[in-house]
Protein backbone atom coordinates (compact mmCIF):
# COMPACT_ATOMS: atom_id res chain seq x y z
CA UNK A 1 0.00 0.00 0.00
CA UNK A 2 1.29 3.41 -0.88
CA UNK A 3 1.89 5.70 2.03
CA UNK A 4 0.01 8.98 1.73
CA UNK A 5 1.22 12.15 3.32
CA UNK A 6 1.02 15.90 3.48
CA UNK A 7 4.38 17.53 2.68
CA UNK A 8 4.50 21.04 4.07
CA UNK A 9 6.25 23.52 1.75
CA UNK A 10 5.37 26.69 3.72
CA UNK A 11 3.59 26.71 7.09
CA UNK A 12 2.17 30.25 7.13
CA UNK A 13 2.28 32.29 10.37
CA UNK A 14 1.16 29.35 12.55
CA UNK A 15 -0.21 26.01 11.47
CA UNK A 16 -0.86 23.27 14.00
CA UNK A 17 -2.50 19.86 14.00
CA UNK A 18 -5.78 19.97 15.92
CA UNK A 19 -8.61 17.61 16.75
CA UNK A 20 -11.19 17.98 19.51
CA UNK A 21 -8.45 17.90 22.14
CA UNK A 22 -7.95 15.98 25.36
CA UNK A 23 -10.72 17.04 27.75
CA UNK A 24 -11.02 15.25 31.09
CA UNK A 25 -7.41 15.62 32.27
CA UNK A 26 -7.59 19.10 33.80
CA UNK A 27 -7.21 17.71 37.32
CA UNK A 28 -3.71 16.56 36.27
CA UNK A 29 -2.85 20.02 34.97
CA UNK A 30 -3.52 19.06 31.34
CA UNK A 31 -5.69 21.49 29.39
CA UNK A 32 -8.22 20.33 26.80
CA UNK A 33 -6.70 22.25 23.86
CA UNK A 34 -8.19 21.22 20.47
CA UNK A 35 -9.47 23.31 17.59
CA UNK A 36 -10.12 26.96 18.48
CA UNK A 37 -13.21 26.85 16.21
CA UNK A 38 -14.59 23.37 16.87
CA UNK A 39 -17.60 23.79 14.58
CA UNK A 40 -15.38 24.51 11.57
CA UNK A 41 -13.16 21.50 12.33
CA UNK A 42 -16.22 19.25 12.58
CA UNK A 43 -17.63 20.58 9.32
CA UNK A 44 -14.34 20.09 7.46
CA UNK A 45 -14.22 16.49 8.65
CA UNK A 46 -17.84 15.78 7.71
CA UNK A 47 -17.27 17.19 4.23
CA UNK A 48 -14.53 14.60 3.53
CA UNK A 49 -16.30 11.67 5.22
CA UNK A 50 -14.19 11.60 8.41
CA UNK A 51 -15.31 11.22 11.99
CA UNK A 52 -16.00 14.74 13.27
CA UNK A 53 -13.08 14.70 15.69
CA UNK A 54 -10.39 13.56 13.22
CA UNK A 55 -7.17 15.57 13.27
CA UNK A 56 -6.82 18.32 10.67
CA UNK A 57 -4.64 21.38 10.12
CA UNK A 58 -5.55 24.63 11.84
CA UNK A 59 -4.11 27.57 9.88
CA UNK A 60 -3.70 30.95 11.52
CA UNK A 61 -4.13 33.70 8.93
CA UNK A 62 -3.61 31.26 6.06
CA UNK A 63 -0.29 31.16 4.23
CA UNK A 64 0.00 27.38 3.98
CA UNK A 65 1.47 25.56 0.99
CA UNK A 66 1.22 21.79 1.10
CA UNK A 67 1.83 19.00 -1.40
CA UNK A 68 -0.15 15.77 -1.34
CA UNK A 69 1.92 12.63 -1.89
CA UNK A 70 0.66 9.12 -2.60
CA UNK A 71 -2.81 7.65 -2.85
CA UNK A 72 -4.97 9.36 -0.27
CA UNK A 73 -6.70 7.53 2.57
CA UNK A 74 -9.67 5.75 1.05
CA UNK A 75 -9.90 8.30 -1.77
CA UNK A 76 -8.90 5.98 -4.60
CA UNK A 77 -5.60 5.65 -6.39
CA UNK A 78 -3.57 8.79 -6.82
CA UNK A 79 -5.97 11.24 -5.22
CA UNK A 80 -6.81 12.70 -1.85
CA UNK A 81 -9.93 14.55 -0.85
CA UNK A 82 -9.58 17.71 1.22
CA UNK A 83 -11.95 20.41 2.47
CA UNK A 84 -11.26 23.87 3.85
CA UNK A 85 -13.55 25.58 6.34
CA UNK A 86 -13.38 28.47 8.80
CA UNK A 87 -11.83 31.82 7.91
CA UNK A 88 -12.38 32.15 4.11
CA UNK A 89 -9.14 32.20 2.12
CA UNK A 90 -8.34 32.21 -1.59
CA UNK A 91 -7.23 28.63 -2.36
CA UNK A 92 -5.66 27.00 -5.41
CA UNK A 93 -4.95 23.32 -6.08
CA UNK A 94 -2.40 22.66 -8.82
CA UNK A 95 -2.95 26.27 -9.90
CA UNK A 96 -6.78 25.96 -10.19
CA UNK A 97 -8.90 28.10 -7.91
CA UNK A 98 -11.12 26.02 -5.62
CA UNK A 99 -13.82 26.97 -3.15
CA UNK A 100 -14.10 26.70 0.61
CA UNK A 101 -16.61 24.52 2.46
CA UNK A 102 -16.75 21.68 -0.02
CA UNK A 103 -14.77 18.52 -0.82
CA UNK A 104 -11.95 18.96 -3.35
CA UNK A 105 -10.04 16.14 -5.08
CA UNK A 106 -6.27 16.63 -5.13
CA UNK A 107 -3.98 14.46 -7.25
CA UNK A 108 -0.73 13.09 -5.90
CA UNK A 109 2.02 15.66 -6.42
CA UNK A 110 -0.33 18.64 -6.59
CA UNK A 111 0.24 21.64 -4.33
CA UNK A 112 -2.52 23.33 -2.31
CA UNK A 113 -1.81 27.05 -1.84
CA UNK A 114 -3.84 28.89 0.79
CA UNK A 115 -3.83 32.69 0.79
CA UNK A 116 -4.63 35.12 3.58
CA UNK A 117 -8.24 35.24 4.84
CA UNK A 118 -10.21 38.44 4.31
CA UNK A 119 -12.01 37.94 7.63
CA UNK A 120 -11.67 35.59 10.58
CA UNK A 121 -8.39 34.04 11.69
CA UNK A 122 -8.46 30.25 11.60
CA UNK A 123 -8.93 28.04 8.57
CA UNK A 124 -9.20 24.25 8.80
CA UNK A 125 -7.84 21.89 6.19
CA UNK A 126 -9.17 18.37 6.66
CA UNK A 127 -8.01 15.46 4.54
CA UNK A 128 -10.03 12.30 4.02
CA UNK A 129 -8.60 9.72 6.44
CA UNK A 130 -7.37 12.37 8.88
CA UNK A 131 -3.89 13.59 9.81
CA UNK A 132 -2.39 10.53 11.49
CA UNK A 133 0.45 11.89 13.63
CA UNK A 134 0.94 9.91 16.88
CA UNK A 135 -1.52 10.64 19.69
CA UNK A 136 -0.37 12.17 22.97
CA UNK A 137 -2.72 11.40 25.89
CA UNK A 138 -5.45 10.35 23.49
CA UNK A 139 -5.37 13.38 21.19
CA UNK A 140 -3.41 14.82 18.27
CA UNK A 141 -3.82 18.47 19.27
CA UNK A 142 -0.90 20.82 19.74
CA UNK A 143 -1.31 22.64 23.05
CA UNK A 144 0.65 25.86 22.54
CA UNK A 145 0.69 26.57 26.28
CA UNK A 146 1.96 23.25 27.67
CA UNK A 147 3.80 22.05 24.56
CA UNK A 148 1.91 18.73 24.59
CA UNK A 149 1.12 17.14 21.25
CA UNK A 150 2.82 17.45 17.88
CA UNK A 151 5.22 20.29 17.12
CA UNK A 152 3.74 23.18 15.13
CA UNK A 153 3.98 22.44 11.43
CA UNK A 154 7.20 23.66 9.72
CA UNK A 155 8.45 23.81 6.14
CA UNK A 156 9.59 20.26 5.44
CA UNK A 157 7.19 18.63 7.92
CA UNK A 158 5.73 15.40 6.55
CA UNK A 159 2.39 14.39 8.06
CA UNK A 160 0.96 10.92 7.41
CA UNK A 161 -2.63 10.68 6.16
CA UNK A 162 -4.70 8.08 8.02
CA UNK A 163 -7.32 5.71 6.68
CA UNK A 164 -10.19 6.00 9.18
CA UNK A 165 -13.31 7.23 7.39
CA UNK A 166 -17.03 6.95 8.05
CA UNK A 167 -18.49 7.01 4.55
CA UNK A 168 -18.22 8.98 1.36
CA UNK A 169 -18.51 12.73 0.92
CA UNK A 170 -22.12 13.55 0.03
CA UNK A 171 -22.29 17.34 0.19
CA UNK A 172 -20.74 19.54 -2.52
CA UNK A 173 -20.95 22.81 -0.66
CA UNK A 174 -21.91 23.62 2.92
CA UNK A 175 -23.64 26.94 3.65
CA UNK A 176 -21.79 28.81 6.40
CA UNK A 177 -22.09 32.13 8.14
CA UNK A 178 -19.32 34.67 7.55
CA UNK A 179 -17.13 36.39 10.12
CA UNK A 180 -17.64 39.98 8.96
CA UNK A 181 -19.05 42.72 11.20
CA UNK A 182 -18.97 43.00 14.97
CA UNK A 183 -19.15 39.66 16.74
CA UNK A 184 -21.94 39.45 19.30
CA UNK A 185 -21.20 36.98 22.07
CA UNK A 186 -23.71 35.96 24.73
CA UNK A 187 -22.35 36.07 28.29
CA UNK A 188 -23.66 34.84 31.62
CA UNK A 189 -22.31 36.34 34.86
CA UNK A 190 -19.24 34.43 36.05
CA UNK A 191 -18.29 33.01 39.44
CA UNK A 192 -16.59 36.23 40.57
CA UNK A 193 -18.99 38.79 39.11
CA UNK A 194 -19.55 40.01 42.68
CA UNK A 195 -15.87 41.00 42.93
CA UNK A 196 -16.63 43.88 40.57
CA UNK A 197 -18.40 47.20 40.74
CA UNK A 198 -22.16 46.61 40.26
CA UNK A 199 -21.87 48.69 37.08
CA UNK A 200 -19.13 46.47 35.62
CA UNK A 201 -21.43 43.89 34.00
CA UNK A 202 -23.41 46.73 32.43
CA UNK A 203 -20.15 48.28 31.22
CA UNK A 204 -19.14 44.94 29.68
CA UNK A 205 -22.37 44.86 27.69
CA UNK A 206 -22.59 48.53 26.80
CA UNK A 207 -19.61 49.30 24.57
CA UNK A 208 -17.74 47.19 22.02
CA UNK A 209 -14.28 45.86 22.87
CA UNK A 210 -11.39 45.83 20.44
CA UNK A 211 -9.37 42.65 19.81
CA UNK A 212 -5.66 43.36 20.34
CA UNK A 213 -2.64 41.90 18.56
CA UNK A 214 -1.59 39.94 21.67
CA UNK A 215 -4.39 37.43 21.05
CA UNK A 216 -3.55 33.77 20.43
CA UNK A 217 -4.89 30.26 21.06
CA UNK A 218 -4.61 30.83 24.80
CA UNK A 219 -6.88 33.85 24.86
CA UNK A 220 -8.28 36.90 23.09
CA UNK A 221 -6.98 40.07 24.71
CA UNK A 222 -9.45 42.91 24.58
CA UNK A 223 -9.20 46.65 24.88
CA UNK A 224 -12.14 48.81 25.95
CA UNK A 225 -13.90 50.21 28.99
CA UNK A 226 -12.28 49.28 32.28
CA UNK A 227 -14.12 46.73 34.43
CA UNK A 228 -13.54 47.99 37.96
CA UNK A 229 -13.01 45.62 40.83
CA UNK A 230 -14.29 46.33 44.30
CA UNK A 231 -12.84 43.20 45.95
CA UNK A 232 -9.07 43.72 46.02
CA UNK A 233 -8.03 40.41 47.64
CA UNK A 234 -5.79 38.01 45.69
CA UNK A 235 -7.82 35.22 44.12
CA UNK A 236 -6.38 31.81 45.03
CA UNK A 237 -6.00 29.77 41.83
CA UNK A 238 -9.25 28.17 40.62
CA UNK A 239 -10.38 26.11 37.63
CA UNK A 240 -11.01 27.98 34.39
CA UNK A 241 -13.29 27.18 31.45
CA UNK A 242 -13.04 27.96 27.76
CA UNK A 243 -14.99 31.18 27.21
CA UNK A 244 -14.22 32.66 30.63
CA UNK A 245 -13.69 36.43 30.72
CA UNK A 246 -10.78 36.80 33.14
CA UNK A 247 -10.03 40.30 34.31
CA UNK A 248 -6.43 41.15 35.25
CA UNK A 249 -5.68 44.32 37.25
CA UNK A 250 -5.76 46.45 34.07
CA UNK A 251 -9.55 45.96 34.05
CA UNK A 252 -9.49 44.81 30.40
CA UNK A 253 -10.86 41.29 29.97
CA UNK A 254 -9.10 38.30 28.42
CA UNK A 255 -11.42 35.76 26.75
CA UNK A 256 -9.94 32.31 27.31
CA UNK A 257 -9.68 29.99 24.28
CA UNK A 258 -8.65 26.38 23.65
CA UNK A 259 -5.14 26.45 25.19
CA UNK A 260 -6.08 28.40 28.34
CA UNK A 261 -4.38 27.46 31.61
CA UNK A 262 -6.21 24.84 33.67
CA UNK A 263 -6.34 27.17 36.66
CA UNK A 264 -6.07 30.93 36.83
CA UNK A 265 -5.63 33.58 39.44
CA UNK A 266 -7.72 36.45 38.05
CA UNK A 267 -11.44 36.79 38.78
CA UNK A 268 -13.88 35.76 36.05
CA UNK A 269 -16.61 38.36 35.58
CA UNK A 270 -18.54 36.42 32.96
CA UNK A 271 -18.46 33.36 30.72
CA UNK A 272 -19.26 33.36 27.00
CA UNK A 273 -21.94 30.83 26.04
CA UNK A 274 -20.29 27.66 24.81
CA UNK A 275 -22.14 27.93 21.48
CA UNK A 276 -20.51 31.35 20.87
CA UNK A 277 -16.94 30.38 21.79
CA UNK A 278 -16.16 29.15 18.25
CA UNK A 279 -17.00 32.62 16.96
CA UNK A 280 -14.59 34.03 19.54
CA UNK A 281 -11.92 31.72 18.07
CA UNK A 282 -12.28 33.62 14.79
CA UNK A 283 -11.70 37.11 16.25
CA UNK A 284 -8.74 38.85 14.66
CA UNK A 285 -6.76 41.83 15.87
CA UNK A 286 -8.71 45.00 15.09
CA UNK A 287 -12.11 43.26 15.15
CA UNK A 288 -14.79 44.63 17.43
CA UNK A 289 -16.75 42.39 19.75
CA UNK A 290 -19.94 43.07 21.69
CA UNK A 291 -21.04 41.13 24.73
CA UNK A 292 -24.73 40.53 25.34
CA UNK A 293 -24.99 39.92 29.08
CA UNK A 294 -27.92 37.75 30.12
Amino acid sequence: MTRSELVILAPGPLTTVQDLGRPGLAALGVGASGAADRGSLRLANRLVGNVEGAAALELTLGGLQVRIEGAGGGAGAGAAIVALTGAPCPVTVGGRAVGMNGPVAVRSGEVIVVGVPAEGVRTYLAVRGGVAVPEVLGARSTDTLSGLGPEPVRAGSVLPIGSETTGFPVVDQAPVRGHAGDAVLRVVPGPRADWFDPEALRTLGAEPYLVTAESNRIGVRLDGPELRRTEVAELPPEGMVRGALQVPPSGRPVLLLADHPVTGGYPVIGVVADADVDRAGQLRPGDRVRFRVR
Binding site: P189, G239, V241, D274
Partner: protein, 218 residues
Protein backbone atom coordinates in the same frame (compact mmCIF):
# COMPACT_ATOMS: atom_id res chain seq x y z
CA UNK B 1 -20.21 25.50 50.57
CA UNK B 2 -21.32 27.80 47.75
CA UNK B 3 -22.21 26.97 44.15
CA UNK B 4 -21.20 29.61 41.62
CA UNK B 5 -22.08 29.71 37.93
CA UNK B 6 -19.11 29.23 35.61
CA UNK B 7 -21.00 29.47 32.31
CA UNK B 8 -23.60 27.24 30.70
CA UNK B 9 -21.50 24.10 31.08
CA UNK B 10 -19.71 24.45 34.39
CA UNK B 11 -20.27 25.02 38.06
CA UNK B 12 -17.74 26.22 40.63
CA UNK B 13 -18.05 24.64 44.07
CA UNK B 14 -16.47 26.92 46.68
CA UNK B 15 -15.62 25.23 49.96
CA UNK B 16 -15.59 27.01 53.28
CA UNK B 17 -12.15 25.92 54.45
CA UNK B 18 -12.61 27.62 57.83
CA UNK B 19 -15.48 25.28 58.73
CA UNK B 20 -14.56 22.45 61.07
CA UNK B 21 -15.55 19.31 59.14
CA UNK B 22 -15.60 20.80 55.63
CA UNK B 23 -13.83 18.64 53.02
CA UNK B 24 -10.72 19.96 51.30
CA UNK B 25 -11.04 20.37 47.50
CA UNK B 26 -8.77 17.36 46.81
CA UNK B 27 -10.90 15.12 49.07
CA UNK B 28 -14.15 16.29 47.50
CA UNK B 29 -12.53 15.67 44.09
CA UNK B 30 -11.71 12.08 45.04
CA UNK B 31 -15.17 11.47 46.45
CA UNK B 32 -16.76 12.82 43.26
CA UNK B 33 -14.45 10.67 41.10
CA UNK B 34 -15.52 7.57 43.06
CA UNK B 35 -19.22 8.40 42.84
CA UNK B 36 -19.63 10.49 39.69
CA UNK B 37 -22.90 12.46 39.54
CA UNK B 38 -24.78 11.81 36.29
CA UNK B 39 -23.88 14.28 33.55
CA UNK B 40 -20.65 15.46 35.20
CA UNK B 41 -17.72 15.40 32.75
CA UNK B 42 -14.77 16.35 34.94
CA UNK B 43 -13.74 17.90 38.25
CA UNK B 44 -10.87 20.35 38.70
CA UNK B 45 -9.82 20.91 42.31
CA UNK B 46 -7.90 24.08 43.16
CA UNK B 47 -6.98 26.06 46.26
CA UNK B 48 -10.48 26.30 47.71
CA UNK B 49 -12.78 25.30 44.86
CA UNK B 50 -13.70 22.36 42.65
CA UNK B 51 -14.74 23.23 39.11
CA UNK B 52 -17.32 20.82 37.71
CA UNK B 53 -17.74 20.68 33.93
CA UNK B 54 -20.99 19.07 32.83
CA UNK B 55 -23.03 18.14 29.82
CA UNK B 56 -26.14 20.36 29.84
CA UNK B 57 -27.99 17.72 27.80
CA UNK B 58 -27.71 15.30 30.72
CA UNK B 59 -27.95 17.43 33.86
CA UNK B 60 -28.29 20.98 35.20
CA UNK B 61 -26.41 23.16 37.70
CA UNK B 62 -29.27 22.72 40.18
CA UNK B 63 -29.28 18.91 39.96
CA UNK B 64 -25.50 18.78 40.25
CA UNK B 65 -25.41 21.18 43.19
CA UNK B 66 -27.92 19.03 45.06
CA UNK B 67 -25.97 15.83 44.36
CA UNK B 68 -22.59 17.37 45.26
CA UNK B 69 -24.09 18.73 48.48
CA UNK B 70 -25.10 15.17 49.41
CA UNK B 71 -21.62 13.82 48.67
CA UNK B 72 -20.01 16.56 50.78
CA UNK B 73 -22.36 15.96 53.73
CA UNK B 74 -21.65 12.21 53.60
CA UNK B 75 -17.91 13.03 53.72
CA UNK B 76 -18.36 15.28 56.75
CA UNK B 77 -20.19 12.50 58.61
CA UNK B 78 -17.47 10.02 57.68
CA UNK B 79 -14.72 12.39 58.80
CA UNK B 80 -16.48 12.99 62.13
CA UNK B 81 -16.66 9.22 62.77
CA UNK B 82 -13.26 8.03 61.59
CA UNK B 83 -11.02 11.01 62.14
CA UNK B 84 -10.18 10.54 58.46
CA UNK B 85 -6.65 9.25 58.08
CA UNK B 86 -6.89 9.41 54.27
CA UNK B 87 -5.21 6.87 52.06
CA UNK B 88 -2.49 4.92 53.81
CA UNK B 89 0.02 4.96 50.94
CA UNK B 90 2.64 7.70 50.99
CA UNK B 91 4.72 8.27 47.88
CA UNK B 92 8.42 8.70 48.77
CA UNK B 93 10.43 11.11 46.64
CA UNK B 94 14.22 10.90 47.14
CA UNK B 95 15.84 14.34 46.84
CA UNK B 96 19.44 15.51 46.44
CA UNK B 97 19.44 18.74 48.43
CA UNK B 98 21.83 20.77 46.29
CA UNK B 99 19.44 23.40 44.90
CA UNK B 100 20.66 26.79 43.75
CA UNK B 101 18.46 28.63 46.26
CA UNK B 102 19.21 26.44 49.29
CA UNK B 103 21.44 29.03 50.96
CA UNK B 104 18.96 31.85 50.26
CA UNK B 105 16.11 29.75 51.63
CA UNK B 106 18.08 29.04 54.82
CA UNK B 107 18.93 32.73 55.24
CA UNK B 108 15.34 33.89 54.64
CA UNK B 109 13.95 31.23 56.99
CA UNK B 110 16.60 31.95 59.64
CA UNK B 111 17.61 28.30 59.72
CA UNK B 112 20.71 26.24 58.95
CA UNK B 113 20.75 24.34 55.65
CA UNK B 114 20.51 21.05 57.56
CA UNK B 115 17.45 22.33 59.39
CA UNK B 116 15.81 23.44 56.13
CA UNK B 117 16.32 19.92 54.77
CA UNK B 118 15.00 18.33 57.98
CA UNK B 119 11.90 20.53 57.95
CA UNK B 120 11.27 19.86 54.27
CA UNK B 121 11.51 16.09 54.84
CA UNK B 122 9.41 15.97 58.01
CA UNK B 123 5.78 16.42 56.86
CA UNK B 124 3.53 14.15 54.86
CA UNK B 125 2.28 16.40 52.06
CA UNK B 126 -0.97 16.15 50.13
CA UNK B 127 -1.34 16.98 46.44
CA UNK B 128 -3.99 19.70 46.78
CA UNK B 129 -4.37 20.38 43.07
CA UNK B 130 -2.47 20.55 39.77
CA UNK B 131 -1.94 23.51 37.48
CA UNK B 132 0.73 25.68 35.88
CA UNK B 133 1.91 22.74 33.73
CA UNK B 134 0.91 19.12 33.10
CA UNK B 135 1.68 17.11 36.24
CA UNK B 136 2.67 20.14 38.34
CA UNK B 137 1.16 19.41 41.75
CA UNK B 138 0.71 21.96 44.50
CA UNK B 139 1.59 20.10 47.72
CA UNK B 140 0.16 21.33 51.01
CA UNK B 141 1.60 20.53 54.41
CA UNK B 142 4.77 22.63 54.10
CA UNK B 143 6.39 23.73 57.39
CA UNK B 144 5.45 27.40 57.71
CA UNK B 145 9.10 28.35 58.33
CA UNK B 146 9.57 27.55 54.62
CA UNK B 147 6.64 29.68 53.36
CA UNK B 148 8.64 32.02 51.14
CA UNK B 149 7.63 34.37 48.34
CA UNK B 150 8.41 33.48 44.75
CA UNK B 151 11.73 34.81 43.46
CA UNK B 152 11.58 38.44 42.34
CA UNK B 153 12.93 37.46 38.92
CA UNK B 154 11.71 34.07 37.65
CA UNK B 155 14.23 31.79 35.98
CA UNK B 156 13.75 31.30 32.26
CA UNK B 157 14.47 27.58 32.65
CA UNK B 158 14.08 25.36 35.69
CA UNK B 159 15.22 21.77 35.03
CA UNK B 160 12.77 18.85 35.25
CA UNK B 161 12.86 17.19 38.68
CA UNK B 162 13.63 20.42 40.55
CA UNK B 163 12.21 20.31 44.07
CA UNK B 164 10.96 23.72 45.12
CA UNK B 165 8.86 25.79 47.52
CA UNK B 166 6.81 28.97 47.13
CA UNK B 167 4.08 30.54 49.23
CA UNK B 168 2.52 27.74 51.25
CA UNK B 169 3.26 25.02 48.70
CA UNK B 170 5.97 22.51 47.83
CA UNK B 171 6.34 21.14 44.30
CA UNK B 172 8.44 19.13 41.86
CA UNK B 173 8.85 20.59 38.37
CA UNK B 174 7.53 17.86 36.05
CA UNK B 175 9.28 19.20 32.95
CA UNK B 176 11.85 21.87 32.23
CA UNK B 177 9.99 25.18 32.20
CA UNK B 178 10.30 28.79 33.24
CA UNK B 179 9.58 29.27 36.92
CA UNK B 180 9.91 31.49 39.96
CA UNK B 181 9.89 28.99 42.82
CA UNK B 182 12.79 28.60 45.28
CA UNK B 183 14.91 25.56 44.40
CA UNK B 184 15.89 23.17 47.20
CA UNK B 185 17.24 20.26 45.16
CA UNK B 186 16.56 17.64 42.51
CA UNK B 187 14.90 14.26 42.21
CA UNK B 188 15.35 11.58 39.55
CA UNK B 189 11.75 10.45 39.97
CA UNK B 190 9.80 11.24 36.79
CA UNK B 191 6.68 12.77 38.32
CA UNK B 192 5.32 13.22 34.77
CA UNK B 193 5.51 10.88 31.78
CA UNK B 194 2.99 11.42 28.98
CA UNK B 195 3.46 7.79 27.88
CA UNK B 196 2.52 6.43 31.33
CA UNK B 197 -1.01 5.72 32.59
CA UNK B 198 -1.82 7.88 34.48
CA UNK B 199 0.84 10.31 33.23
CA UNK B 200 1.01 12.27 36.50
CA UNK B 201 2.25 10.82 39.80
CA UNK B 202 0.93 13.81 41.72
CA UNK B 203 -2.81 13.30 41.32
CA UNK B 204 -4.96 15.41 43.69
CA UNK B 205 -5.26 13.67 47.05
CA UNK B 206 -2.01 11.66 46.74
CA UNK B 207 0.21 11.88 49.84
CA UNK B 208 3.93 12.53 49.45
CA UNK B 209 7.05 12.52 51.62
CA UNK B 210 10.48 13.85 50.61
CA UNK B 211 13.54 11.83 51.65
CA UNK B 212 17.14 13.08 51.58
CA UNK B 213 18.75 10.86 48.95
CA UNK B 214 22.29 10.48 50.29
CA UNK B 215 22.31 11.87 53.78
CA UNK B 216 22.38 15.55 54.47
CA UNK B 217 24.49 17.79 52.25
CA UNK B 218 27.69 19.52 53.38
Amino acid sequence: MRFLSAGDRALLVELDLAAEAAPEPARLYRALMRDKPAGALEFVPAARTVLVRFDPALTSSALLAARIGEVARAMEDEAAESGDAGDADVLEIPVRYDGEDLDDIARLAGLSVAEVVARHCAPVYTVAFCGFAPGFGYLTGLDDALWLPRRAVPRTRVPAGSVAVADRYAAVYPQASPGGWNLLGRTDVAVWDAARQPPAMFVPGVRVRFVAASGLPR
